[in-house]
């Protein structure tokens, strides 16, 4: 049995408190920003940038273009009346500044929810495929998925609380003037959003509840009935999951840009959550091993996890690039605006994410021997997790804060907050059951697993 060490518990609580304080401070700060403040700020920025007027005007043209096709918050019309335009621009920037703490919180909440959901899918795959190598890791996976229900409810709560700070289609004013959103409002309205979200969360949690129940019941049984039941619900869950995960990504992410759509988006988000979930499993396993638990986990298990991290990182790149290349090639304004804004204003996170999610793990984890060295896996894992945080950041932020982004206090505090919560919940769940799924029919094979 694992006991949740007080040191770790305290550390996690400190993270949560730091996160709440830091985020709360930046929320108040952003909330108290008025149009007048923004005007002063913009004037200062213009003075700072001095002779860059020509390029500034260029930027605005692009922004205006994007917005007319994207229907973002602003109704930034063509600059007929400069003064009026300045006022509108200042108000638009103020909205973006107000949106930032909400977005920062939402990105971090979604990221940790996504880890739990990815781990749940990976867990279900192990049962559905009757994998022989992984049963020694089942309790770690089950513990990580324990975060799913609270995490997903928090994401939903933030989405509803933030409302039109994140999802402009929740603002009736915007919808009234936007024919494209009106056309989608049969699907994209608050009631349907809530019903779908509860349906997704309910389905996932139901599977997680029964899978855990059967897994614990299997420990004390003398036949394989519980394992067979778990196998059956895992297969059913995976079908449910791949549909609901895809729809969840339209609802919870893609709809922040309600004019833009990509048919590949669900898959792309899936790859992101799958690799994050597997990385989290590997890192929790290595942590527990370093604390003297999980002595039945050998380096072949780590090797397999690292192989998955390597492979799914490439899979993510494949899907990311498939989406990018088709849109880049076709160059249809309504589609390409998504990447145009990102390359225009998010150059560093946009391309940095490719380095962190693809090139770094590709080179570090390519060598077979390195996949067995814990600190290599942890290094690659940290970079992969940060990279996928930035991936989610790149999905949400451009639509809500535009070029007013920075990874500063609100973003880091929000990550700390949910990291603390994640650690508290996951390690609490770990302490609730023996770390070895003793009576799993494949446990012997798994213990002797050798590559």
């Amino acid at each position: 049995m694992y006991t949740f060490s007080n040191k770790l518990k305290l550390g996690a609580i400190v993270l949560v408190i730091l996160g709440i304080v830091g985020w709360g401070y930046s929320y108040m700060n952003a909330h108290n920003t008025t149009v007048e403040d923004v005007k002063v700020m913009l004037a200062e920025e213009a003075a700072d940038h001095g002779g860059g007027h020509a390029s500034d005007a260029d930027t605005h043209e692009v922004v205006a273009d994007d917005h007319s096709s994207e229907g973002d918050h602003s109704s930034e019309a063509s600059p007929v009346d400069t003064e009026h335009h300045d006022d509108e621009h200042a108000e638009h920037v103020m909205h973006q500044i107000h949106n930032r703490p909400y977005s920062a919180l939402y990105v971090a909440a979604f990221f940790f929810m996504m880890i739990a959901l990815g781990a749940l899918a990976f867990y279900a795959v192990q049962f559905a495929s009757q994998a022989g190598w992984s049963p020694v890791l089942f309790r770690v996976m089950e513990a990580i998925t324990y975060y799913l229900l609270p995490g997903a409810l928090i994401v939903l709560g933030i989405a509803l609380w933030a409302g039109d700070h994140l999802f402009i289609w929740m603002d009736p004013e915007v919808v009234a003037h936007d024919e494209l959103i009106q056309g989608k409002s049969g699907f994209l309205n608050k009631t349907a959003f809530i019903i779908r979200a509860l349906f997704f969360i309910g389905g996932w949690s139901l599977y997680r509840y029964f899978a855990r129940k059967f897994s614990l019941a299997q420990d004390n049984s003398d036949d394989n009935k519980n394992f067979k039941k778990s196998f059956r619900i895992a297969a059913g869950f995976l079908v449910f999951y791949i549909y609901t995960e895809s729809m969840m990504s339209w609802d919870w992410i893609m709809s922040v840009d309600p004019h833009w759509f990509s048919t590949l988006f669900g898959w792309y988000v899936f790859a992101s959550m799958f690799v994050s979930g597997i990385t989290a499993i590997a890192m929790v396993t290595i942590y527990l091993k370093s604390r003297g638990y999980l002595d039945f986990v050998n380096d072949s298990h780590l090797h397999d996890l690292a192989k998955f991290m390597f492979g799914i990182s490439i899979f993510w790149t494949y899907l990311w690039f498939s989406q990018f290349m088709l849109i880049w090639y076709a160059d249809i304004p309504e589609e390409v605006t998504y990447f145009a804004t990102r390359i225009e204003h998010y150059k560093l996170p946009f391309f940095g994410m490719l380095v962190m999610n693809f090139i770094f793990p590709f080179l570090v984890l390519m060598n077979s021997d390195y996949k067995r060295i814990p600190w290599f896996i942890v290094t690659a894992g940290i970079v992969i997790l940060l990279g996928h945080y930035i991936d989610v950041f790149n999905m949400i932020m451009p639509a809500t804060v535009g070029d007013r982004w920075f990874i500063g206090l609100p973003e880091i505090s929000a990550v700390l907050l949910f990291l603390g919560l994640f650690i508290l919940i996951v390690f609490y769940a770990l302490s609730k059951a023996p770390l070895k799924a003793e009576r799993n029919p494949f446990i012997k094979e798994s213990e002797y697993f050798h590559y």
Binding site: F321, F324, M325, W328, Y329, A330, D331, M366, N367, S368
Partner: protein, 177 residues
């Protein structure tokens, strides 16, 4: 080259073979070669063979393939006959790079895979019209053959190999290749 004497022990089970290899290694005899009908897991480690370097060659072939793809696409699509790619006639390689990524990927994989296999064949001294070195055709079916070098200790070795469960033991003069 002079001819050398080897002893050939034949086994019918891979587990028995593995144990035999460990015993022979423990007695510090030199195993020249083992012929098996299928890859036996862990045999290379038991024999004390060096880890393969073929992965490194594969990486280098991949880099070569990537380079070939870049140079080739640059020549074909940008220099020799400049193409208007996706309505973006910029005639710059880097700006049109996304269009070439699938080719870069495929060429990397193609070079890495094919050249690695060819390297493997050559390193294993296999090429077209080569006469098989296999001492006993039964090793392509269901028998395992271990070749141990003999240095005036035939009786010793024969007894040892017999104890490890060999079903057949022959001493042969072998031509060096």
């Amino acid at each position: 080259m002079e001819s050398s004497k080897v002893i050939q022990a034949i086994y019918t089970d891979d587990d028995v073979l593995m144990n035999a290899v460990k015993t022979v290694k423990a007695k510090r005899h030199h195993i020249e070669e083992i012929y098996t009908p299928f890859p036996v897991h862990g045999l290379d480690k038991a024999m004390g063979l060096e880890p393969t370097k073929i992965a490194i060659t594969s990486f280098m072939y991949g880099c070569l393939g990537l380079t070939v793809a870049i140079v080739m696409m640059n020549f074909i699509m940008i220099q020799d006959w400049p193409q208007n790619i996706g309505g973006k006639p910029s005639f710059s390689y880097i700006e049109n790079m996304p269009a070439f990524v699938p080719i870069m990927f495929e060429m990397t994989v193609f070079f890495a895979a094919h050249l690695m296999v060819i390297t493997f064949y050559l390193r294993s001294r296999m090429w077209p019209f080569k006469k098989a070195e296999n001492p006993d055709p039964r090793t392509t079916d269901d028998h395992f053959l271990m070749e141990v070098a003999v240095h005036n200790n035939e009786a010793d070795l024969t007894r040892l190999l017999g104890e490890t469960g060999a079903v057949e033991i022959n001493i042969v003069d072998k031509e060096e290749h």
